[in-house]
């Protein structure tokens, strides 16, 4: 039936094992540093030990990001190559390690050992600074998201950020400075053109990107990433991609219809949709608007992180490799790492803002685990092991586990989509890119912003 079923099977095994490794590594390190060491030091009488345990707890989120980013980027590069090979019916890298699983690790080692060349006439300081400026924001940007995607686990809260999504957006706007800086400092015309293109592109596409996110913030009524993710819990009907809670009333009404003990349906509908047909129009408008917004966000994000079809700054067939033409060795590795990390972070933002964060897509009334008849026997069977792991040594936090699992699944679906796009589309030309950004996306987003502001008035949200 499927021509390359064997390849697909291999790829899924590969992905599963890599994701397990990432999961275990990040969680293991965080548990060790954030829970085990503080727990061991808690009973100590030395002040110094207390200070150490405090420091350990404080650096856990940072450590999680630092462990996660390189391993994850390695897996993403491998996945991209294998998936593209699948699309074009080739074999991807399959020599290093079992079925090519260690190919990117080998690449990384090779890049680290390569000579680090600074071209003649380059501005050495700026040339070195550029990859750092390109990479550092992705770490900072990941931190507020970390709390949102782990169901607000205490371990991963670095600070209370009431302006979380704004923080992420500010962080994600910095890398373009690194690109321009690297392009200028390389003393290479191709690099310079890549840098200039990148600046123009990033400034133009940041507007639809930020506007789409701001519209979602308008729907949610807050800038805090954690509470935006929390609001959407309760299945796909509550997600921001479907009207951002415009369908919450419907969700509640169905739940009330199914369970006989709930409030009457008419009352539920009356509370959520107080204006009758006006509310109905509002719901339809909101659903359409948010779906379009999701598309606009994906387009803007693609342009922001220079993926095909918007990869003009590093257009390989025109500008050789654009801004990173002159880079080699570890600096190139950092550029490469940051590129894939940015892809992941952008997808995570999409998941948190549109796809419900760590929420199970099934509505509560469809989810078998939400019925006591199912989960009580299940927990009874598993309790001897689970209570040890959960309550005694705090190895597992079930909420965090499920949230992280769903987030990883959703994020990797988006990454897969990005790879699919990369495998299909040619590249825009720079003037067409600008036209598309300014004449199509910006007006559409502005109109949607106004529509959403009005439509939100006729529906009750998340009561």
């Amino acid at each position: 039936m499927i021509p390359n079923a064997a390849e697909i099977r291999k790829l899924s095994v590969l992905s599963f094992s890599w994701l397990t490794v990432i999961f275990v590594a990040v969680w293991g390190v965080c548990w060790l540093v954030g829970i085990l060491i503080p727990a061991l030091l808690a009973n100590s009488s030395f002040d110094f030990a207390r200070a150490v345990s405090e420091i350990c707890e404080a650096i856990t989120p940072l450590l999680a990001v630092m462990v996660f980013i390189p391993i994850n980027a390695m897996f993403m590069v491998l996945m991209e190559r294998r998936v593209l090979a699948l699309f074009t019916r080739r074999n991807g890298p399959n020599r290093v390690g079992p079925d090519g699983a260690l190919q990117t690790a080998a690449d990384a080692i090779k890049l680290l050992l390569k000579e680090d060349i600074t071209p003649t006439g380059a501005d050495a300081a700026m040339f070195t600074l550029a990859p750092i400026i390109f990479f550092a924001p992705s770490i900072f940007g990941a931190i507020p998201l970390l709390a949102a995607v782990t169901n607000n686990n205490k371990l991963f809260q670095i600070a209370d950020l009431p302006t979380g999504i704004f923080f992420v957006l500010a962080a994600s706007s910095i890398p373009v400075v690194g690109i321009v800086m690297g392009g200028w400092a390389s003393n290479n015309k191709y690099s310079l053109m890549g840098g200039l293109r990148s600046a123009a592109q990033a400034i133009s596409y940041e507007i639809p990107l930020v506007l789409s996110i701001i519209t979602i913030c308008l729907l949610a009524g807050t800038l805090d990433v954690v509470s935006i993710a929390k609001q959407q819990s309760g299945g796909i009907l509550n997600w921001n991609i479907l009207g951002g809670g415009a369908l919450t009333g419907l969700n509640k009404a169905i739940a009330a219809f199914i369970s006989s003990a709930g409030p009457p349906i008419a009352e539920v509908i009356k509370t959520y949709y107080p204006y009758g047909w006006l509310s109905l129009i509002g719901v339809i408008v909101l659903c359409l608007c948010t779906i379009i917004l999701f598309g606009i966000y994906l387009i803007g994000a693609c342009a922001e992180i220079n993926r095909i079809p918007f990869d003009l700054p590093e257009a390989e067939s025109e500008l050789v490799s654009g801004y990173n033409t002159e880079y080699s060795g570890i600096k190139f590795a950092i550029f490469f790492l940051a590129e894939f990390t940015n892809l992941f972070i952008v997808s995570t933002i999409a998941v948190v803002m549109f796809l419900g964060g760590g929420d199970c897509p099934l509505p509560t009334w469809l989810n078998p685990l939400s019925y006591p008849a199912v989960y009580i026997p299940l927990t009874n069977i598993l309790s001897p092991i689970l209570s040890l792991l959960i309550d005694k040594i705090h190895l597992i936090n079930p909420d965090t586990f499920w949230a992280a699992l769903w987030v990883i699944l959703k994020t990797y679906s988006l990454v897969f989509f990005a790879i699919l796009v990369r495998g299909t589309l040619p590249r825009f030309r720079i003037d067409q890119l600008m036209d598309f950004g300014w004449k199509r996306l910006v007006p559409i987003t502005l109109v949607i912003f106004v529509l959403v502001a009005f439509a939100r008035g006729v529906i009750n949200f998340h009561v």
């Binding site: 200070a51 500010a170 200028w184």
Partner: protein, 189 residues
């Protein structure tokens, strides 16, 4: 252990000024480099350092929203526009004209130094009504409410100003082939 306690207490009391000096140590050299660096595009990049350090100061001052806006608008937006303007204008001309007359330079230096000293002495002699209250964590909300109630009129003016500036900038930067033909003849010496 007492010393450790003392140390931690001292650190907690002085962490803000320590951070201030750290960021000042970034901001001041970057500001000087903006003025004196001979490769002018590099001085454009140093401007990012100044803005970044000031945004760090805003974070210490618990103005989160302003700090992030500072990064987005100044450190990325404006600086990139400045750098692109530097690349578009011929940077090589700077070299020819970089030596300004020493009298002007010394005059400027004197004015700037005297200005700083005056301000500093004025600051010192003043007793500031420092409030002991802590700031509320959600001052974004406060700013938003203030902008739409007490400061609604300036807010509107600001938006009109932005719109006018946007249109004016586009008109100014647009090269109109018909106009330039006539204007070039009369404007150039």
């Amino acid at each position: 252990m007492e010393q450790f306690e003392l140390l931690t207490n001292w650190a907690q009391a002085n962490v803000e000024s320590f951070m201030l000096y750290l960021l000042a140590a970034i901001a001041i050299p970057c500001a000087f480099s903006v003025l004196f660096d001979r490769a002018i595009i590099r001085s454009g990049f140093f401007l990012i350092g100044v803005f970044g350090a000031i945004s760090g100061l805003f974070l210490i001052l618990q103005a989160q929203f302003l700090a992030l806006a500072q990064i987005m608008i100044y450190a990325v937006g404006i600086t990139l526009v400045v750098v692109i303007a530097l690349m578009l204008t011929n940077a090589r001309l700077e070299k020819e004209f970089s030596s300004i007359e020493p009298t002007e330079r010394i005059g400027g230096l004197l004015v700037a130094a005297l200005f700083f000293l005056t301000i500093y002495l004025a600051l010192r002699s003043e007793s500031w009504p420092v409030s002991s209250l802590q700031m509320r964590a959600d001052n974004v909300l406060q700013i938003g409410v203030a902008l739409l109630t007490n400061y609604a009129l300036p807010f509107e003016f600001a938006s009109v100003l932005l719109l006018a500036a946007l249109m004016g900038a586009i008109l100014l930067a647009k090269s109109d082939p018909k106009e330039t033909e006539n204007v070039t003849g009369s404007l150039v010496e």
